[in-house]
Structure formats: structure tokens, C-alpha cells
């Protein structure tokens, strides 16, 4: 039903400063953001609370004006364009449904503004309501729907005007876990089918990982890393990103030298070889060695990199989590397919090992 060319969204040096009244300091909500979102791509903005995700989204939608920088939708600069002139549709965290209209009128609102003949509107609204599974709910008031249904009305209302860009601000945060998963899949399907460029704001890393083509990790107004979920997870450039997108253990190390594209560092008095490193890592500096639980292995004492003692094993079915006390503190090791592996009993001495290409050297700075 919706045929439209996918467009890109570009942010060039976008900064948003909120003037704070009563002589307080200004808040820099977004700082020098550069981002190119390809046509048809779904990008998530991921970051802790207050990092500027919503502000970024609202600038793309036109509800906030950038203090500096430019925003493009396709090739057109839209920095100064008011929201009603932009070809974007936003799904708000609170949905923003029109409480004085029925579900049908809510969905039809955008079409009525476009002066489309009534019979066409009817056909389209019914089709869209069907698509989100609310075909029989046209006459209801939004307040008489469940959270998930309201959410789908909001989705239908945004999609029916065939926006070039769909903006979603934590649309699922008010739903229970099961519904959340369902809706996530639904949104992703529709977005892919229609080829809409989408920006999705969330602070839930699982949501970001499972949904997006690329993830933008933000902190304190800065974009920290942009990349596909696997890259963000496997190859974080900073300690913050590594920690924010998944479980990780950081071992303090000193980088000794670089041999044939491999880093040699000192870890607990022994030398360890690491294949990859993040930003701002140089020979001679103190750094951290980042290891995901599933990248670590438990081996016989004395044969690995770090010695320790198993404190507790948690059996999860398809995997097993071993909490091991070491001189660096407690380290979590995830043993996949535990039935095929040797399990060290609680209390036994063990050693932790890793392959050079499964861990990463990162600047030790927390931020």
C-alpha cells in the first residue's frame, strides 16, 4: 500500500544546548553529533538516561531546533523546517493518542489533513488497522484499550501517512516483557517490508541488539560508537561501550610492546597476547583487557592466564555461569553447552584462559 523511496537522514555537527533559567549552567544535551542513516536502515540510539537520545530524535522530528549544525532528510536540509512540514512520523513513549477521538479517527487524522477523499481514507484506515491487528477496534476510545493495543494504534497512526522516516522514542518501555518481544518483532517486520528509514531510541541493550541494523551508543551528549550490533558487542572501542552493551570483565594490564600487529601486555605478572585494541590505546600505557564471559574458558590450574577458585556455578540449561574468585576480584565465565565440557566443582582451583582474538585492549578510562 505504501510505495515510497527510502531516504537517508544526516546529522552534521549537530549540537543542542538548553539554556537553563535562573543562572544555572547550560545543559549540552547533544554534542557535535555526526551521523548518516542509510535509506531503509533501522538505527537505534542507545545510552543511559539523560544522554541525549530523546533530544536527538526530537531534533530530527523538528520539535527541537539544533543550536548548531545541520540536519538533512534525503538531500533536503530540514534544520529549520517545522515538524508538520517534515516527512517524519514519531511514536512517542506516551503514544500521544488523541483521547477525544476514536481509534478510527486517530488513525485517519493524518489522512484527513492531506485532504484525501473519505472513501479512500476509510479503505486505508481499515487496511492499516488490520495490519496491526486492530481491525475490530475502530469505534473504541483509546483509553479503553490495553497498553499494547494503544501502542499499535500509535504505530498505525504513524505508518498510515507513509512517512519517509519513522522515529520511535522508547515505544515499548511501558509494556510487559512478552508483549515487548512481540511488538519488537512486529515493528521490525513492518519497517523492513515498507523500507522505511527508522530511528529507534532505547536504553535497553537487548532491544537495541535484536532490532537494529546499526547501533549508536551515546553518553553525556556524545556519540561514542556507531556500528552494527555485532561490532558494537564484539569490538567496542571504549570501556563504556563494552560495559554498556553487555557483560564484561576488565583486567588491568600494562601494554609492553606490539609484535606483528599483536599487542603484548602484562597481566598479573605474566605476558598475554591480544589481537585487537580499541581507541586511544598505545604501547607503554596502563590499559584494561576486556573479556566477555563467553570468551573466557575455565582450564586446569596453572595452564591459563589467571589463577582462581570456583565460588559458585549457576546452571542455566544451555549454558552455565561460573563465578570465579581471582586476585582481580570475581570473574564471570560462561560455559556454553555445559554437558559437553568439563565442569569444575565449586571450591576447586582453576585457571582462566582466553584466545588472543577473543579479548580486547581498551583505554582504562571509565567514560
Amino acid at each position: 500500500m505504501l510505495e515510497k523511496k527510502s531516504v537517508s537522514v544526516t546529522l552534521e555537527h549537530v549540537t543542542k544546548r538548553f539554556k537553563n533559567v535562573k543562572g544555572k549552567k547550560d545543559v549540552i544535551a547533544v554534542n557535535e553529533a555526526n551521523l548518516v542513516i542509510e535509506p531503509g536502515e533501522l538505527v537505534t540510539l542507545l545510552g543511559p538516561s539523560g544522554c541525549g537520545k530523546t533530544t536527538t530524535l526530537r531534533m530530527i522530528a523538528g520539535f527541537e531546533l539544533p543550536t548548531e549544525g545541520k540536519i538533512f532528510i534525503g538531500n533536503e536540509e530540514v534544520t529549520m523546517m517545522p515538524p508538520n512540514k517534515r516527512d517524519t512520523a514519531t511514536m512517542f513513549q506516551s503514544y500521544g493518542l488523541f483521547p477525544h477521538m476514536t481509534v478510527y479517527d486517530n488513525v485517519a487524522y493524518g489522512l484527513k489533513l492531506r485532504k484525501i477523499p473519505a472513501d479512500q481514507i476509510k479503505e486505508k484506515v481499515n487496511e492499516t488497522l488490520g495490519m496491526v491487528g486492530l481491525a475490530d477496534y475502530g469505534d473504541r476510545a483509546p483509553s479503553k484499550l490495553s497498553g499494547g493495543q494503544q501502542q499499535r494504534v500509535a504505530l498505525a497512526r504513524s505508518l498510515i501517512v507513509t512517512p519517509s522516516v519513522l522515529l520511535l522514542d522508547e515505544p515499548l518501555s511501558n509494556l510487559d516483557a512478552l508483549l515487548r518481544e512481540q511488538m519488537r518483532i512486529e515493528i521490525r517486520k513492518i519497517q523492513k517490508d515498507l523500507g522505511i528509514t527508522a530511528v529507534y531510541v532505547t536504553h535497553d541493550r537487548v532491544e537495541a541488539m535484536s532490532l537494529s541494523d546499526r547501533v549508536v551508543v551515546m553518553k553525556d551528549g556524545f556519540i561514542r560508537q556507531i556500528g552494527p550490533p555485532s561490532v558494537i558487542y564484539e569490538e567496542p572501542n571504549s570501556r563504556f561501550v563494552a560495559g554498556f552493551v553487555g557483560k564484561a570483565t576488565f583486567f588491568p594490564v600494562k601494554i609492553l610492546r606490539k609484535d606483528a600487529e599483536k599487542w603484548i601486555c602484562e597481566l598479573g605478572g605474566k605476558e598475554a597476547v591480544v589481537s585487537h585494541a580499541g581507541d586511544n590505546v598505545e604501547v607503554g600505557m596502563e590499559a584494561v583487557l576486556m573479556a566477555r564471559p563467553e570468551s573466557l574458558r575455565v582450564v586446569e590450574p596453572g595452564t591459563g592466564h589467571i589463577e582462581g577458585k570456583v565460588r559458585m556455578n549457576v546452571y542455566l540449561g544451555n549454558s552455565l555461569e561460573s563465578f570465579i574468585n581471582t586476585s582481580f576480584g570475581e570473574v564471570l565465565v560462561q560455559v556454553d553447552d555445559p554437558h559437553a565440557k568439563k565442569i569444575y566443582a565449586e571450591g576447586s582451583d582453576v585457571s582462566i584462559d582466553f584466545a588472543p582474538d577473543r579479548v580486547r585492549l581498551l583505554n582504562k578510562d571509565e567514560t
Binding site: N84, F92, S94, P99
Partner: protein, 745 residues
């Protein structure tokens, strides 16, 4: 937003437009001046040709003043040619001209002119001269006006000799009328153009920009300008800056009136607060049964028309009152402080009642329960818990009633007798002695305590710290009174209400009595006469209020939306200015309106428009507050969604905001209507032969002791107001259902 490029763009465009504007203005005004000069020359020469044939002085005396019929406002003086001296000598004509000539006759300009006339050449002096037009006794012109001076010869029959010369003064005023119009047009063109340019260049949402601009226009023209004009004129006397007016105002005569206003205010506020607290306590804090009826009856006086309570008090307790004279044969007078306080308390205790109710309702009764659990007596609990917790309500109520009493105009007008208050004193000055500037100075005097009280009240309302709002209203209320106390409260309250009802019934009775106080026989004649004499006033009042109502409602909601949802420079200023009329006594607004709008370019005095504008401006603050409160409860995402789907500001307002804040919209409209129907303090200055107001007519009838007619009109007014009020109750109740579904999610 304010990029260098845009600023340069704007300045460039502004420069081009301004120079164009200025150039056109200059050209037009020069053209007009030379045209005017030419015309005057022609007229004057023509006038000289009509000179009497014979050199008879009497004939000339008659002829000279006729210059006015040729050029409006002109003055002429005749000089005859004296052969002996070989020069022109003053003969006859206007004193104004003669004095001017006498003053300047030795100047080269005047000498040259005389010489030129001698050689039969008419001449206009360059530059203008100030002439005192009050010198001519026959013409009532008081001013010194800059004038052009022309000299023309009166030529002998043979055509080569001057018999005499005429000096003619033409006041600039005729020209300045046109010139000031021209100036106004070009200045407003420039202002409007710059405003539009500003919006287009510097905002990304021109519709909002224009709305803000228009709102600023309205506020500046109809709120700031009249007030400033009133201030300015209170410092002027006969066209020069002077403190004379203020000296007069601060003289003992008027300080007595200020003291009178304050005394009345304090008395009224104190008693009203006590009565109001009693009602509020009975209704909110006891197990009293008829809460609904009681609270409806107790709020009624708020919407009752002005004069009606005073009228009723006069009918009952006046010099010829039913109770004072016929029943008790008393000789004490109701006119004065006592009577005034009584009427004002009845009229204003509902304000205290509603304010205190609001606070009492919010007190969490678990606090009281806790106290009672600790074995405190009920009285002790009331004294140590309930009363202190309701202190903000009490203070707030007192101040509100106080400001209302100070601004009250209608009751003192009828009931003050020898007792003097500022609001009516200002009215007397304006209507009795046409002393507008002193009237406005007096109103400013009144403004000071009003504003002070208003600001303190704001402060108290802002700090709700005492009130424990739990969000969950307790379902059960602890009975804080024992039975005897409650019953005595009930009795007192019902007596009070009964008295009020009796007052209104008295008015109804007054409609059907031949001549109250003298002849109590039944008649319907009052109705016929009142309707025939008051019909146009009724029609005008309803029409104007009906026009003002939707305008005020829409404007208030639009303003609320802009204030709550949009960012723009000068927002605080705009809000403050819009709220100003709320704190200002109506008398001051009325006086400042006649001062500001009785001259071009905004010559509005005498039109219906000024009355409508006055209604709108005065009732806007309450509407805007209603709208703001309503909007704060609505999730901005709802409006943003609409904008996001392609709705521009006006569409969002029409399809989303207005329906969502419908209750506020409706109540603002009904408020405006009721208040406009019952307005008097400002309106009494603004009515005209064409547009009369019902309340003013009621006042006129009461003043002339035509109580029957006044009663009929009051009854009609009460009925209209009650109907609108009831209709509004129904509409809003209807809305409560939809209102429930308005949740943010």
C-alpha cells in the same frame, strides 16, 4: 536562528522598505502642503475681492469675520491705507491677528509683506507663527495654535492702488489633521512590515510568529497604551508637564476617600472571611447534609448583577424602606459605611467561601485523625491542626475580598451617602467635572493597595507548602464537630442564606409595586415602561456580550496555548501584561480607555467596539489562567503527534487543543458573558448615546428613585445571567464524562 546572514538580510530589507516608506511620506506631505498653500492663496484672493465697495468701517467690521466661512478657523485683520502717512494703519478685525501683528510688525518679514502688499502682491510669510486664539471672544477656541500668515491687498476699483491690506491667519490644525493621519498610516505600515519581516526572517514557524505578534499588538494597544496614556495625562495640565493633578489628588479631600476605601476594604474582607470560613467548614468538614444546595446558594451572589443587592437593601432599609420605615419606624440611615459593608459582605463572601473551600478540601483528614487518636479534643484538633493548615486559604481569601472591595464601584455609587470612597470619587471627577486626568490619578491611588494585596495573595497561592496533598482523597471525613456546634453553624448559615434569598425576592416584589415606600399596591405597569425604555439597552447589552464572549474565549485559549507550549522572546512580559487587567480596578481601565481612544488614530469612544474590547481585555486573564491550568494537564506529546502528522499550529489548536480543553473554554466563555452582562465600573465610562448598558440604566433608574423600573431590569438581568450559568453547568457536566477519558496515556 539569528545567523549573520539572516540579520544582514533583515536589515537590508528593512532599510529598503523604510527609505521607500519615508520617501513616499515626504513626497505626499510636501505635495499636500504646496497644494494647501496654493488653495489658501486662491481662497484668500477671492476673499479680498469680496471687500465692501465703500470705505465704511462698519461694513468692514461685518465683513472681516466672514473669512471663517471661506477658510475654516481663519482669522483676519484689516489695515486701511492712510494717505497721510503713506502706510497701512490697523483698522478692524480679530484680536488674535492684531496682537500677532503688533508683536512682529517691526520684523523684516512683516515689513517686507506690507511692502509687497503695497505693490499689490499678496504674500505668505515663510514659517509659522504661534497665535493665541483665545483672544477672540466670539469664538470658543482655547489654544495657542501655530499658524500660517498671509497678507493680501484690497485693490481699488481702478485696479492700480491698494485701498487696504488684510492679514489672515490660517491655523495649521486643518493641515495637521490630514498630516497626522498620513503619519499614522506610514508609521503603522512601517511597524507592520517590520513585524512581518521579523517573523518571516527569524522564525521557522511563521503562523506561530504572527499569532504571537498579533497578541503583542492587542496587548500593547489595548492594555499598555491606555494605562501609559493615563499615567502620562495625570502628569499634564493644559498641555504642559505639571504635578498639579497629583497635588490635588493627594490633598486631604481625596486622602479621606482613600482612607474610606481602605476602611471599607478591611471591614468587608474581615467579615467576609469569617462568614466564608463558616460556610466552607460546614460544607467541607462536617457531616452536614444539604451540601450541594447550600454551596450553590452560597455562590449565587458572585454572578448577581451590580446594584441588585444595594437596590434591595434600599428597598428594605432605605429612607423609605419597608422594614426601616414601614415596620420599625426607624430613623437611622442605611447609607454609609454600615450599609456598604453589609452589601459588600453579601456580595463578596462567596469569594472567600470558594477560596477557603478549595484549601479545606485538600487537607488530608488523616492528620486530624492522628490528632484525635492522640486524645486531643475536637476543639483542640480544630485549633491546632485544621485552622493552621487552612491559613493560606484564609489569607488568600481576605486579600481577594479586600481587592474586590477596593475596586467595587456599583455599591458605593448607590449606598455610600456621605461616606466617600475612591472609585466613585474618580467617577464624579470624570463625569461631574470632566476632569479626566484627576480621575485617572485617583484611580492610580486606588491601584497601589490593590496591587500590593494582589501580589501578596499571589505569593501565598504560590506557596502551598502547608497543604498536605496526598493525591488520594480520603473517602471518610472525620467529624470535627459535635452536634450542638454543627447545628448552631447550620442555623446561622441558613439564616444568612435566607436573608440573601429574601433580598432577591424583594427585587422581584419591587417589580410589581406602584411606588415602593409610598404605595404598595400591585401593578404590572413597571414592566411595560421598563421594557419600552430599557429594550434597546437590553438588546445592546446582550449583543455586545454575545460578541465579546467567543472572542474572549478563543483568544484566551490561544494565548494559553502559546504561553504553555511555545517559546518566544518576551513571553514573561506578555503574560504579565495580559494578567494586568485582573489586578486593576475597572474605574481605572474605563478612564484610561476614554483617555486613550478619544482621538485619532484610534477614535473608538462612542462605538460598540470599545465596549467589546473592554469586555474581552478585562475577562481575558481568568480565561487564560483556566486555559493554562487545563493545558498543563495534557501530555504535550498529543499536540506534537498532531503536528508530526502534518497539522499546522492553527489546525492543532482547532482539532486537538480546543476539544481537549473544552471545559476551560466553555467556562471562560460563560464567565465572560456573565461578567460582561453585569459589568459596570469600566463600562459606565464607555457607554454612549448609541450603545447603552443595562446596569447603567438600572443605576440611572435607582438614582432617580424609579425603584420599580430598576427592579424589573435587575430581575431581567438576573434571569438572563442565571440561564446562561445553568446552561454552562449542563454543558460542563456533560463534559465531565469525556473529561475522564482524557488521560495522558
Amino acid at each position: 536562528m539569528f545567523t549573520k546572514k539572516r540579520i544582514i538580510q533583515f536589515c537590508f530589507a528593512a532599510l529598503i522598505f523604510l527609505s521607500l516608506d519615508l520617501w513616499m511620506f515626504k513626497t505626499l506631505s510636501t505635495n499636500f502642503r504646496s497644494y494647501e498653500e496654493l488653495r489658501n492663496f486662491n481662497e484668500i484672493e477671492l476673499f479680498a475681492q469680496t471687500a465692501p465697495e465703500d470705505q465704511d468701517l462698519q461694513a468692514y467690521e461685518k465683513w472681516i469675520p466672514s473669512v471663517k466661512s471661506i477658510i475654516a478657523g481663519a482669522r483676519a485683520f484689516y489695515f486701511s491705507f492712510d494717505e497721510m502717512q503713506g502706510d497701512f494703519v490697523p483698522s478692524t478685525g480679530s484680536e488674535t491677528s492684531f496682537r500677532l501683528w503688533d508683536k512682529y510688525k517691526e520684523s523684516t518679514e512683516f515689513r517686507k509683506a506690507m511692502e509687497s502688499v503695497y505693490y499689490l502682491e499678496p504674500m505668505k510669510l515663510s514659517g509659522s507663527y504661534k497665535a493665541d486664539y483665545s483672544l477672540d471672544p466670539d469664538i470658543h477656541s482655547q489654544e495657542t495654535i501655530a499658524s500660517q500668515v498671509y497678507f493680501v491687498p484690497v485693490i481699488d476699483e481702478n485696479g492700480y492702488q491698494a485701498n487696504g491690506a488684510i492679514m489672515i491667519l490660517v491655523p495649521n490644525s486643518t493641515a495637521t489633521g490630514y498630516m497626522s493621519l498620513l503619519r499614522t498610516i506610514f508609521i503603522s505600515a512601517a511597524v507592520i512590515f517590520l513585524g512581518i519581516m521579523l517573523v518571516i526572517t527569524f522564525t521557522r514557524d511563521p503562523i506561530t510568529g504572527f499569532m504571537v505578534l498579533a497578541l503583542f499588538g492587542v496587548v500593547v494597544i489595548f492594555i499598555a497604551y491606555p494605562l501609559l496614556e493615563a499615567v502620562r495625562l495625570s502628569f499634564m495640565k493644559d498641555g504642559v508637564v505639571s504635578l498639579q493633578t497629583w497635588k490635588e489628588t493627594l490633598s486631604p479631600t481625596y486622602l479621606v476617600a482613600l482612607w474610606g476605601s481602605l476602611r471599607l476594604g478591611v471591614l468587608t474582607a474581615t467579615i467576609s472571611t469569617i462568614v466564608g470560613y463558616m460556610f466552607a467548614f460546614l460544607i467541607e468538614r462536617t457531616s452536614f447534609r444539604q451540601k450541594k444546595v447550600m454551596s450553590t446558594l452560597a455562590t449565587m451572589p458572585v454572578i448577581s448583577p451590580p446594584f441588585s443587592l444595594s437596590l434591595s437593601i434600599i428597598l428594605l432599609f432605605g429612607n423609605n424602606g419597608l422594614i426601616s420605615k414601614q415596620l420599625l419606624h426607624l430613623n437611622t440611615s442605611i447609607y454609609g459605611l454600615g450599609g456598604l459593608t453589609l452589601v459588600e459582605v453579601i456580595g463578596m463572601f462567596p469569594i472567600a467561601f470558594m477560596t477557603i473551600s478549595g484549601v479545606l478540601r485538600q487537607i488530608d483528614s488523616t492528620v486530624e485523625d492522628a490528632s484525635l487518636d492522640l486524645n486531643a479534643t475536637k476543639w483542640h484538633t480544630f485549633k491546632s491542626i485544621t485552622l493552621p493548615l487552612s491559613a493560606p486559604g484564609i489569607v488568600s481569601a481576605w486579600l481577594l475580598v479586600f481587592t474586590n472591595s477596593l475596586a467595587d464601584f456599583a455599591n458605593p455609587l448607590l449606598l455610600s451617602g456621605d461616606y466617600r470612597v475612591l472609585s466613585t470619587e474618580a467617577y464624579m471627577l470624570v463625569t461631574g467635572r470632566s476632569n479626566l486626568s484627576a480621575g485617572s490619578a485617583l484611580s492610580f491611588l486606588l491601584l497601589m493597595p490593590t496591587i500590593t494585596a494582589f501580589l501578596i495573595q499571589r505569593q501565598w497561592v504560590g506557596k502551598k507548602s502547608y497543604v498536605t496533598v496526598t493525591g488520594k482523597p480520603s473517602t471518610t471525613l472525620t467529624e470535627l464537630t459535635n452536634k450542638p456546634v454543627r447545628v448552631s453553624l447550620e442555623v446561622v448559615s441558613w439564616t444568612f442564606i435566607g436573608f440573601i434569598v429574601a433580598l432577591y425576592l424583594t427585587i422581584v416584589a419591587g417589580c410589581f409595586v406602584v411606588n415602593w415606600g409610598i404605595d404598595y399596591s400591585f401593578t404590572l405597569a413597571n414592566w411595560g415602561e421598563a421594557l419600552s425604555r430599557g429594550w434597546t439597552a437590553i438588546r445592546d447589552t446582550v449583543t455586545l456580550a454575545a460578541i465579546a464572549t467567543p472572542i474572549a474565549g478563543l483568544l484566551a485559549m490561544l494565548t494559553a496555548m502559546l504561553v504553555v507550549r511555545k517559546k518566544f522572546p518576551g513571553k514573561r512580559l506578555l503574560e504579565t501584561l495580559i494578567m494586568t487587567p485582573y489586578a486593576i480596578p475597572g474605574t481605572l481601565i474605563g478612564i484610561s480607555y476614554i483617555l486613550a481612544f478619544n482621538k485619532p488614530p484610534l477614535l473608538l469612544v462612542g462605538t460598540g467596539a470599545i465596549i467589546v474590547i473592554n469586555y474581552v481585555i478585562r475577562e481575558l486573564p481568568v480565561g487564560v489562567e483556566n486555559g493554562i491550568t487545563a493545558l498543563h494537564q495534557i501530555d504535550p506529546a498529543i499536540e506534537e503527534s498532531a503536528a508530526d502528522l502534518g497539522a499546522d499550529v492553527t489546525t492543532v489548536f482547532r482539532t486537538i487543543v480546543l476539544p481537549l480543553i473544552r471545559p476551560a473554554f466553555l467556562s471562560s466563555m460563560s464567565y465572560t458573558f456573565v461578567r460582561s452582562m453585569t459589568a459596570v465600573s469600566a463600562i459606565i465610562f464607555l457607554i454612549s448615546a448609541r450603545w447603552n448598558h443595562l446596569t447603567v440604566l438600572i443605576f440611572n433608574f435607582s438614582e432617580n428613585l424609579r425603584f420599580g423600573l430598576a427592579s424589573v431590569l435587575s430581575t431581567i438581568l438576573i434571569v438572563i445571567v442565571l440561564m446562561v450559568w445553568a446552561l454552562m453547568q449542563v454543558l460542563v457536566k456533560d463534559d465531565k464524562l469525556t473529561q475522564k477519558t482524557i488521560s495522558t496515556r
